[in-house]
């Protein structure tokens, strides 16, 4: 289990190779990479603000919950902060397990929960000036489907 919150970019290949290195019991890895995408009227950069301390704590809790629900051999969450431009990587979530179902499901769970719990906020640069991005109900709905019955 590993959490990193950083301004710098990350190397996807190197991170995924390191995740599984030395553990031949791993049968599959699932990864999700979130990118800054162009919005509406064209390219817009953004600045990601976060709450140092609580961010790491919440990500660790989310990761621990994934490890309680699925048999994982390894997991990794990297989330960037600071100014990012369209095409830049924002987040990497990766999970490794003996079998693919656990890897797929836990990776999906992690990004859905992260989006509604990890204390990050996006400030978008638009032609009209900087605007805070509004939270989406669809993100809450995506996270809700993982509530245990």
């Amino acid at each position: 289990m590993a959490i990193r919150v950083q301004a710098d970019d990350f190397d996807i290949g190197a991170e995924l190779a390191a995740l599984t290195e030395g553990d031949a019991s791993i049968g599959g890895v699932t990864s999700f990479i979130g990118l800054v995408r162009e919005m509406g009227s064209g390219p817009s950069a953004m600045t990601l603000e976060h709450y140092p301390g609580m961010t790491e704590r919440q990500l660790a809790e989310i990761e621990a919950e994934a490890n309680r629900r699925w048999p994982l051999q390894a997991s990794l969450i990297i989330h960037r902060y600071g100014r990012l431009e369209p095409g830049d990587r924002i987040v990497l979530v990766a999970t490794a397990s003996k079998h693919r179902e656990a890897a797929f499901e836990s990776c999906h769970f992690l990004i859905d929960w992260l989006k509604t719990r990890a204390p990050f906020w996006k400030l978008e640069e638009t032609a009209e000036g900087s605007q805070w991005v509004e939270a989406k109900d669809s993100d809450d709905a995506a996270a809700d489907k993982w509530q245990q019955r």
């Binding site: 709450y51 301390g53 609580m54 992260l114 989006k115 204390p119 990050f120 805070w132 939270a135």
Partner: protein, 83 residues
């Protein structure tokens, strides 16, 4: 008590953090927000709709009825938009 503000709550209030000593009747998160609303037009505007304000005490999410203590770190922020 240490207060932290993030995102548009920070920009509307005008500071990112402050140390405060609320009056004795402030015992929980809801009464803290009620008191903060009286501290000036910037606070009144930022906190006019408490239902859109998320609160963490000592870096854990809490509900409006959560009790407060003098040494708490209380953060107020909008719904998160990371990932």
């Amino acid at each position: 008590m240490k207060l932290l503000y993030f995102a548009w709550l920070r920009t509307k209030i005008g500071v990112s953090q402050e140390d405060v000593a609320p009056p004795a009747e402030v015992r929980d998160v809801a009464s803290l927000i009620g008191w903060l609303q009286t501290r000036g037009p910037n606070f009144a505007d930022a906190l006019k709709n408490p239902s859109v304000v998320r609160v963490a005490v000592n870096q854990e999410y809490v509900r409006p009825g959560h009790p407060l203590a003098a040494g708490d770190e209380v953060a107020l922020f909008p719904p998160v938009t990371g990932g």
